[in-house]
Structures are given as C-alpha cells and as structure tokens.
Symmetry: C2
C-alpha cells in the first residue's frame, strides 16, 4: 500500500465516493451507475446512491467535499459489490492446487483428513488462517462461508483472523461422527460430543471480543450425511431450529454420495436434511448436482440455497450443477470456490468457471455423440448471471444485506482497476461501452486488478492508491 | 522494471543461470532439475544444463562467476520453458473478453469482420499490435502463431512489433475469397489476389530489417475451407509445397463447419486439406474437434498438428477436442488461446482449461443422464500433460527447437515468481515437494507471477528484479 498516495476518509464519519458502479440486482439485469455518488454512513451502511443527473448530486458532493469526506475513483477504476464465496474449506488452504490428480478416496483419506486433523494446534491454525484471510481479501472476497474443522480452538483462531483483518465471515465447526466414513484420528467421539461442540462454538463466537456487530457468524456444519450418524443430524437439526443460526453441508454432490444417502435413508439428501430439521432459510448446501425436481421444489419452498462450485464440479461431482434451471424454479444459490476441491481462491475465476460449466451443459462436450444427443440446451448463463451469483445471489442465500450497491446494504465493495500494472483487462475507450467494460472485467479480472477491498465501510485491503481526496 | 536491482548479463557473451528448472520432455514426464546450471550461448541457445551433482557444476559456475556472467534465481522463483500459443487472432485483441454472449453469426459478421477490416490502416494496426505483443510477453508467451488480416501493411506492422519487442512469432496473411461466406468489405478480390498477397507477404517477412535470424516466420493462412474457393485452396497448397513454409487454418471446429465441408467437398476437412496440399509437417489446424479416426491417422502420418483451444471449444465448438486420445494415436498438438474466441491471453489459463475440458469429457456434465451414459472415460489429462501441451508439444508442432530446458534448444524461458506481490500460488515449504510446487504453479499462476520472459537468450519482459549478480 502506497500510503503517501492514499487518504482514507476519517473513520466514524459519513463519506461519499464518486464513482461508476456496477451491480446486478437480478440475474439478467446489469445496473451501471455512471459517475454516481455512493454515500456511506458512519456505521458502514450505504445511505444512498445518487445518480449523476439527480438534482441532489451536486449538493451532496459539495457537502462531503467541504468536510474532506469526498473521494473519487480515477478513470479506469470501477466499484463492484464485494465478492461472496459461500463455500470455502478453510483448513484445506495449504493444499490448494495440489493433489488434484489423485483419486477422490486418496485425496480425502491421505491428504485432506490428515491435514484437517492438525488444527487442534492453534499455532498451526494461525499460520494457515492468517494468510488465508489475507489472500481472500486481496482477491476481493468480502464475505466467506467457511467450513472449519472439529477443533473449537482452531475455529476460534479463524474467526479471530476474520475479525482482525475485517472480513465478513460465517464459520462452521465441522461435525462428523460416523465411524465407517471418518478416520479414527479425525472424527467426533459421539453425536453428543459433536452437538455440544457445535453449541459451544456458537457461544465462543458470540463472546468473541470485537464481534458485537456480528461480523463473524456461526454455522451448524454437519460435513455431509454419509459422515454423520442419524443421532448427530437430528441433534444438529434441533439446534438449528432452536437457534436460527445458519446451516451448511454438502448435498447430492456425486453419484456415490447421492446413491449412498438414497440407500441409507430411503430418500434424497435434500429430503433427508429436511426431515432432520437442517433445511432452513439460512441453509446453504454445497454442490447439489443431483437434486431431483422434487428436491428443487422443496429447497425453493423452504428458502434454502445451493453453493454452486463450478470448478470443483468438474473434478469431483461427476457432472455440473444446472444453475440456470434451478434459478428458473426459484431456488436460491450462491457461488463457491470450494477451496481446495477447487484450486482457485478467486471468485472471478469462479464466475468464469460458472459460465464455462453452463456452456458445457448446454452444448455437451463429446464430439463422438450425434449433435442431437449432445447438451441439454437452455442451460447457458452469461457474465451478468455469473456476477449476480457471486454478489447479490450470495447475499440473498446468506440472508444478509450485502451484494448490491444500493441504499440499505452494507458497504462491502471492491475497486477494480483496469489499468493495474499486471492487468489483462484491455479497454478500448472509443468502442467499449460501460457494459462492455464490465464484461471484460468479468472475463479477465484477477487479484492484480483488485485495488481495494471494503467491508462494512472499512478499507480492509489496498493494493495501491486509487482514491484521491477532492476536498 | 526496477533496473537498480537487476543486472542482466552482458549481451553477446555466454552466461549461466543457476536455478531450479521444470519442463516436460514427454506428456507424462515432469522433469525437475534442482539447482542446475543452465549455460546459454552468446546466440541464445542452451549449450548445456548441468545437474547439481555433476562434477562439472562447480567449475562451470566458478568460470561464469569470474566473468560476471553468472546469475541465480532466488528462492521461490523457478525457470520454465517459454509458453507457446499456437492460435491467436491478432486483430481481435481489442474485443478480447467482449461480445461472448452473442450468437456466433453475429459475433463474426457484426463484431469480428468489421474489426478485422480496419487493419488496412497501419496506424490503427500499430495501436493494437504494440500492446498485444507486450501483453502476451508479460503473460509469458514467448512464441505465438498469429492469424493476421488480409492487409500486407497491417501484417507487416505485427511482424515488426514482434521483432522490436523480441517475441518469436509466426504470422499469417489471412486468405478468404468465397463470396457466400465473406462480407464484401472484408474478402479477397479473387483467389489469384489472395495467393499473390500471401506470396508477397512471405517476401515482406524475409526482407524485414532485423529478421535475418528468422525470429518471425510467415504462415500460409486460408481462414477455413468454407471461406475459401477451391482455386484459392489449391493455389495456397501449391505454395506450401513449393516453399515449405508453415500452414495454419481452422478444421472441423463445429457441427456446422464440419458438415459444411462434408457437403461441399464430399470429404472431411482434414482429407480435403490434404487433397489441396495444405497438410504438411508444418501445418497447424485449429480446434479439430470433429476429426474422425481416419483424420487422426492422416494427421499423424503427415505430421500435421492440432491447435487445441479448450476455452473457445466451450463457447464455439459444440464439444471439446479429445486431446488425450489424439495424443495416444500419435497426432501432434499444441495449445492455443484462440484470442478472442477465447477471452484469456494467459497460457496458464489455457493449461487449466485444457484440464477442465478433459475432465468434462471424461466424466460428462449432465446430471440428468444415468452415470453409465455420462462421459467417455480415459479422456483426463493432468497438469503435466497441460504444461507439455503449452511448451514441448507446441515446439514440436511448430517444428522449432523450443519448449524444453535442454541443450540445443533456444533459450526461450520464463521465470515464475511464487512470492510475487499478487501471487495466488501458496507454497508450504515443509510439505510441498518440487513436483507439488509445479502443480501449484500450473493451477494458480497468473501474469503477476511471470517475473521475466526470455526469448533467444534476450530478456524481453521483466516484471521486477529477480536475478542477482553473483560475480
């Protein structure tokens, strides 16, 4: 951060940002607010977004300039909603981009479980979670929904890092007690122990210094049905119903998992989760590739959402999640990196993979099949849908006022600098409209373009100086 | 470039680089040369690569140190072969990442052809081609095989930019004369005019100041069979046979194109190209999704290669190219970005998309199909295969001594810095082997990690200072 070039607004006071902002109030609607004034309250909430041709614009601008609380984005920089990653396995950060060439069983038993088992050591946890949060903020992820581990201490360290570095987060104490699916060195001793551990962690977060505003929220987190006994799932369901806290788990991800649950419970994952009390308005189920039409209807009725993880779909899910048809049937969804089942921490990458996955589904992939047998059509999403998934849809899935640039939302936002030194976003001023610029951002933005990251009105990452004090 | 920290070796003298180098002599073989000495001749050719445990290592190191011609990569930086992009539409650079949400016909007729038609204006050509070459070098692309336009002047400007900035390149004068497929404002007046234009451009390149070493080579470039008359294809085939210069075109990319050629010529693209004399050891055909087994056998026999463009496959090809089975049947291939049918200029992105495409082919994508009807299996490639595609395979496809770090190859290489400020490559020294590091590089490297780019022994891009003078 080049502090000599950057002058943040005085904390605790309202301020205004003059900028061109992009957001997606709907999956098919890109909103471009050119040279608007985004007024942010002293508590980090967007008070108003005043359009350039609004009669109040000049006065509001002058008022903030007079108090030194006006900032302006330079040409080539744009405001976007902060990116929302609804599925991250925090303890898997050290193996991101590694061991993706081994079979799933090996990946879990030889790589992942032994790694996750190490987070009883809080020093190790801190050595991982501090850079994890820093890297995600640098990639523009303002909110992350995390799977932690079984360890109260390690999970607390993760929550503390989010608070310290200013990332909005939902942190889950993983619960898994089924001996046939979980290794002895990494499983809950009993259903009761896992339920009590989960309840204790909810208390830990509530009492965490600095968390009075609820920046970090707890999540009830059965790993997935195969790794949990019925007693555990019932107990966690009762806890979810009683406390109203968020729930996350995996659901119908692969042929194996889907079939396993069918055989064990006599019903699909979604219906089983519902029976256990785990499907609520604040539930996010990861992957959900193999949902039946009845599952989708149930999810939509309950208001539960899917964490669509397109990249890891290709690697682990035997298929890709049909996002467009799920949305058409009113099911909620957000976008997930699925670190480290997905190798990339960038939600821009996740946007691009969501588009790619939808095209693969739409067109099919195998050239040896006749054209008529390839693809399912009407499955494509575009870059606007993808940005919506990573922002507004994620906010709705989490039941939080984030993901859009409008009054009443938290000021969780990123500044994308198309002129950054390592930028692959190449704008041609004469021929690129603002909508073209946004499309080029979605297709080529990387971490190098994320100049600033803001959460709840606070600057939490700054790549360089892009704001100029106009006062 | 922070020149105060960087001290390049004296030009015109041999020098040595002490480094850990990764390359892929075969599709299934990662070679890791830890702390090796790469000795580069005064003409930019690798003289030898001396292993750390070779008795000559210490002496050679001392000899170069004594003359000030020893450099060393710091911890966290690695030498890789320069990335080879065998399919780039240079004039489409301004629309990269744009208009990907419109139908193909609109994309071609409303966006692409009108844009390509502008390159008769050499000033415009320079305004595009200068940043194009600069951006590709910054992304680590040391060799690019370019489609230009119909304009001798514009194509010369592209070749001049490659020479000036030091990028190895193959530049094609596009030929297209079929009135039913090409708009009046952008097509050759006749087959004869296109053939003469192509021959003239071969001469232009041969006479270009600074090109005596052949850094930039000409390519005979019929756009694809549908846009060319038989007379044009025959004439260009004769020119290819007579001159031995490279050939590039598109081949069996989509259902439409494949079917169109079948109906017009009574044979597949590959066989038609062969009949026209256009299939040679130095031919690269883009996409080639719908090759028949007989096509693959013909390609392998002739020694022609495929430019695999996995990203644009998803968008435009109605399927993905089965790279692994093509390789198993001894067909040559390289990797292409297909700018701007592909939105990314990064060959690391192309590597990742090649892996994703192969997984999609292997597993299938549609969850509504029964498992047994999804996927074709044995289609997966891994990160080693992907790097091989982008380096050694590309060099072989182009019939040039590039793509590996070994004696006799040109020193076309990149330095990947895992500790770059915007790096998403997260290495854990205690648990990541060199092979793990390479996997993490392939999965998360971006332009921000490309610290240096070298072509023929010359430093042509430097992001920061990573070499230290040990003398």
């Amino acid at each position: 951060m080049n502090s000599s070039l950057f002058s943040p607004p005085t904390p605790g006071q309202a301020w205004a940002l003059q900028c061109t902002a992009f957001d997606t109030p709907r999956s098919d609607a890109l909103r471009v607010q050119v040279d608007a004034l985004v007024v942010v309250s002293s508590t980090g909430v967007i008070e108003s977004v005043i359009a350039r041709d609004d009669p109040r614009w000049a006065g509001e601008r002058a008022r903030h300039a007079a108090t030194g609380q006006l900032r302006e984005l330079p040409e080539g920089s744009y405001l976007l909603p902060g990116l929302i990653d609804v599925h991250v396995h925090a303890p898997q950060w050290p193996q991101m981009g590694k061991a993706l060439d081994v079979p799933l069983a090996d990946w879990l038993q030889r790589n992942t479980f032994p790694l996750e088992a190490r987070y009883g050591d809080e020093a190790f946890a801190e050595s991982v979670y501090r850079p994890l949060v820093r890297h995600l903020l640098a990639n523009g992820t303002t909110t992350a929904m995390y799977f932690g581990t079984l360890h109260d201490g390690g999970n607390r360290v993760l929550a503390e890092q989010c608070l310290r570095q200013g990332q909005r987060a939902l942190v889950g104490r993983v619960a898994m007690d089924e001996p046939s699916q979980c290794p002895e060195f990494y499983r809950d001793a009993s259903a009761q122990a896992a339920i009590e551990g989960t309840e204790a962690f909810i208390g830990t977060l509530a009492g965490l210094p600095g968390n009075a505003g609820g920046l970090v929220l707890p999540v009830i987190t059965p790993r997935f049905i195969p790794s949990c006994t019925d007693a555990l799932l019932e107990g966690l369901g009762a806890l979810a119903q009683r406390t109203g806290v968020h729930v996350q788990t995996h659901c119908s991800e692969s042929d194996w998992a889907h079939q396993h649950v069918l055989e064990r419970t006599g019903m699909t994952d979604a219906h089983a989760l519902h029976r256990f009390g785990l499907l609520t308005r604040r539930t996010v189920v990861a992957h959900a590739n193999f949902l039946t039409p009845e599952d989708v209807a149930l999810m939509a009725e309950v208001g539960a959402s899917v964490a669509h993880c397109p990249l890891s779909n290709f690697y682990f899910a035997n298929s890709v999640f049909p996002a467009r048809s799920g949305h058409a049937r009113h099911m909620g969804m957000g976008l997930g990196s699925d670190i480290s089942g997905g190798y990339s921490p960038s939600m821009f990458d996740a946007c691009r993979h969501a588009i790619t996955a939808s095209y693969a589904l739409d067109e099919g992939v195998d050239p040896d099949l006749p054209s008529a047998q390839r693809g399912r059509h009407d499955a494509r999403i575009d870059h606007v849908f993808a940005l919506w998934l990573a922002t507004a849809a994620g906010g709705a899935a989490l039941d939080l006022p984030i993901g859009r640039i409008e009054a009443g939302q938290h000021f969780d936002a990123i500044v994308v600098d198309c002129h950054a030194p390592d930028s692959n976003i190449c704008i041609w001023p004469g021929s690129d409209s603002p909508a073209d610029v946004l499309q080029k951002i979605i297709y080529n933005a990387t971490r190098a373009n994320v100049a600033q990251t803001w959460v709840q009105g606070a600057l939490v990452h700054c790549r360089g100086a892009v704001l100029s004090n106009l006062s």
